[in-house]
């Protein structure tokens, strides 16, 4: 079976495709969320060092991973849009930004609420935390810059530049725990000692990562559909949707 992928580079085709994909990813997100929370709260045992407080990991790590991953995907599509002048790629980058910002905020928030009982402080200006905060500012900068420019194509281009420049922050976040002395722990999975404990905790965390993935895809497709409809409102296919031309 051959699929003509170029067909979906047209905003109109993608609009319909996204509409069909959203229910699928929504269902998967709910399934993974329920399974992940069940494993996280009823299967994964108490941590020998951190007690029950470690259970924040099941949202903190997926949110932190998504915050970085979504930024790279956003910058990629923004870059493609800038280089090849493809409208849909730029719209997609715009659709990703708020969800990326949301996950960044969640990672910072849950980190603070985890840091307070474990480190005795909500916040420290160390490398990991500061670079993650900069990530939040990059998302906000991208969104406000695009919102400030009236012409959508110019907004796409300006946003792409800021997104691409900001990519340099991603390896800084990722390697910050190795490069600098930091309060933040290194790889979270290696903290556990007993392999049996590690398994249930790790599985719970990975299922929550999948839930975050599916949720992100569903909500980004929803937002992409809004953006497509808004930007293409003058076109004939939207008019056809309205039923005025037949």
């Amino acid at each position: 079976m051959s699929i003509n992928w170029y067909k979906y580079a047209a905003p109109s085709s993608f609009y319909f495709l996204a509409g069909k994909l959203i229910p699928f990813f929504t269902v998967l997100a709910v399934i993974f969320l329920v399974a992940g929370l069940y494993i996280g709260f009823f299967v994964a045992p108490t941590d020998f060092q951190q007690g029950e407080a470690y259970r924040i990991i099941f949202i903190h790590v997926p949110a932190a991973w998504m915050s970085m991953f979504l930024y790279v995907v956003m910058a990629f599509w923004a870059g493609i849009g800038l280089a090849f002048n493809t409208r849909l790629s730029s719209m997609f980058a715009t659709a990703i930004a708020p969800t990326g910002a949301l996950f960044t905020f969640i990672a910072l928030w849950t980190g603070a609420w985890w840091g307070k009982p474990m480190w005795g402080t909500w916040w420290v200006w160390d490398a990991r935390l500061t670079s993650e905060l900069i990530l939040l500012f990059l998302y906000i900068g991208f969104m406000s810059l695009q919102a400030a420019i009236d012409d959508p194509r110019r907004a796409d281009k300006a946003g792409a530049v800021i997104a691409l420049v900001g990519v340099v922050n991603i390896p800084i976040i990722y390697f910050s725990v190795q490069w600098w002395n930091t309060l933040h722990q290194g790889a979270s999975v290696s903290v556990m000692q007993s392999p049996k404990m590690a398994t249930a905790m790790l599985v719970g965390m990975l299922v929550m990562v999948l839930a975050a993935w599916m949720y992100s895809i569903a909500v980004i497709l929803l937002r992409a559909r809004n953006i497509i409809l808004e930007r293409e409102s003058h076109t004939s296919w939207v008019a056809e949707l309205r039923g005025t031309t037949r």
Binding site: F42, P45, T46, G51, E52, R242
Partner: protein, 65 residues
């Protein structure tokens, strides 16, 4: 079983405030995002005067094409 009772579960070994503070905030953020996207979809459809009927036609069009 990890938890002796529901109150034990909500207490989270004394870390209840921090664990539930994290989960509640995340829940509010996610629900808030969904509601915002859904609301802008609704306003947009109204602005473009896309009715339920035209959305149904969209599905039919896709099925036939």
């Amino acid at each position: 079983m990890i938890w002796d009772s529901w109150s034990d579960f909500f207490n989270m070994g004394g870390y209840g405030l921090y664990v539930w503070g994290s989960y509640l905030a995340t829940f509010i953020c996610v629900i808030g995002e969904i509601l915002m996207v859904k609301r802008s979809a609704r306003t947009l459809r109204q602005q473009l005067s896309l009715t339920k009927e035209s959305i149904l036609r969209e599905r039919k069009d896709e099925a036939t094409s």
